[in-house]
Amino acid sequence: MDPAVVDHLQRREAILQRLRATLVESLDLRVEPDAIDPDAALFGTGLRLDSIDALELVVAVETEFGVEIADRDGASPDILRTVNTLVDRIQERM
């Protein structure tokens, strides 16, 4: 098997687990981290976060992972859509 694929999958899984834990802790979600669906929407449905949560989410993720997910104008709407789109951004910048 291509080692790059194995590496990608392992990094992806590790980021997903850390992000789930960060979401639960920083936003005080009443859900087990493993129960967060990777493709669950962050806002509206899914985790049902609101605009106040959004700010806390960005700060918590940037602190935990040491990467910027928001630019000067804020996080692009395509980044803060689902847990997986957030993982995409973190993996891209780590």
Binding site: L9, D39, P77, R81
Partner: protein, 344 residues
């Protein structure tokens, strides 16, 4: 303009008569709904939740939108007939409870699109624009309105008896003409739902386990409901498979095995043409170790595919601000590249 084009760029009207619409009344209406549905129903008046009905084996039986209106509970159900639904609900009413289950013959007239709010405001009132996603309200002609559609764009659904729905449809059609109102069929709505990562209970593989289908957010971890014991037993050993989005070339077919280096790791559940671009997009059920986006080493049948994060599209509605934008000034809205509907 196709139905999908209208949904993605202006506004499209659709009409559906395939949904079961039930009203629960009485002091114990909420208790009955909470007992039967899979989510924790923390519903305030005027709120909507997307939830599920599970079969006894923990798999999905029906897709449900539940709305609270005063003390009444509305159930908009897809995937189960109203007869079966009423039978199921009545079997869960305890002796002495004050609740009745009423079937309606309501049909749904909906408008979806980045400028659906403008049509809704012109037809109803400007106040409708301020309603948050997942709201229930009363619209003109006494129709039950839900801001809870599944295209990823602004969407409003109105439920009313067929003759009233005729009037609503006619009025929206007349008012919507200056907005280039299009017509969307059920297939268009389902295609947009898949593009945006919404659940479609009629799709192949949809009657599986909620966790595998990434619908755990619709399932309570605390309460007991039909199918909950079987579902928890299924999860006790850990999740074994998970649905994952992918893109690939034309020719990828539902049911095709997904392989890595010749070893089977899953199966294509659902696939459709990627509107506005080449190839297809779809969902595959993959063994959990491989169920991540960003992998281009898998094959679906003989075709190379790349797993991706959902949703598949960037919606124009994300960039439309009803306070400052309008259909008339649409060309001045600064959309980034990649917004659905701009290239298609």
């Amino acid at each position: 303009m196709t139905g999908i084009d209208a949904i993605r760029s202006s506004v499209a009207l659709s009409r559906r008569d395939d949904l079961a619409v039930l009203r629960l009344t009485g002091e114990d209406a909420w208790d009955l709904a909470d007992r039967v549905l899979s989510s924790d129903l923390h519903l305030r008046d005027g709120q909507v939740r997307q939830t599920l009905l599970l079969a006894d084996d923990g798999t999905i039986a029906a897709d449900v939108r539940v709305a609270a209106e005063d003390e009444d509970i509305w159930l908009i159900v897809e995937g189960m007939s109203d007869v079966s639904l009423i039978e199921l609900l009545r079997s869960h009413i305890a002796d002495g409870e004050d609740v009745s289950v009423e079937r309606t013959d309501d049909v749904c007239v909906a408008i979806d699109g980045p400028f659906a709010w403008e049509l809704a405001a012109a037809w109803d009132s400007p106040g409708i624009v301020g309603l948050p996603y997942l709201s229930a309200f009363r619209g003109p002609h006494g129709a039950l309105g839900l801001r809870a559609n599944t295209t990823g764009e602004f969407g409003y659904a109105f439920f009313a008896a067929p003759d009233v729905a005729d009037r609503i449809e006619a009025e929206l059609t007349a008012i919507g003409e200056p907005l280039s109102l299009g017509r969307a069929e059920l297939a268009d709505l389902r295609a947009c739902a898949l593009e945006n990562g919404f659940f479609d209970v009629t799709a192949p593989g949809a009657h599986g386990h909620p966790a595998e289908l990434q619908l755990r957010w619709r399932v309570s971890e605390r309460k007991t409901f039909p199918g909950s014991d079987a579902l928890r037993a299924h999860l006790a050993g850990g999740l074994e498979r998970r649905v994952t989005g992918f893109r690939g070339p034309d020719g990828v077919a539902a049911g095709a095995p997904v392989t890595l280096d010749g070893t089977r790791i899953g199966e294509v559940l659902q696939v459709q043409h990627a509107h506005g671009s080449d190839g297809v997009l779809g969902l595959a059920m993959l063994d959990i170790a491989w169920a991540h986006p960003g992998v281009d080493a898998y094959r679906a049948g003989e075709h190379a595919i790349r797993t991706v994060s959902r949703p598949f599209v960037l919606n124009r509605s994300l960039f439309v601000r009803p306070q400052t934008h309008s259909w008339r000034t649409r060309d001045s809205i600064p959309y980034p590249s990649g917004v659905a509907g701009l290239d298609g």
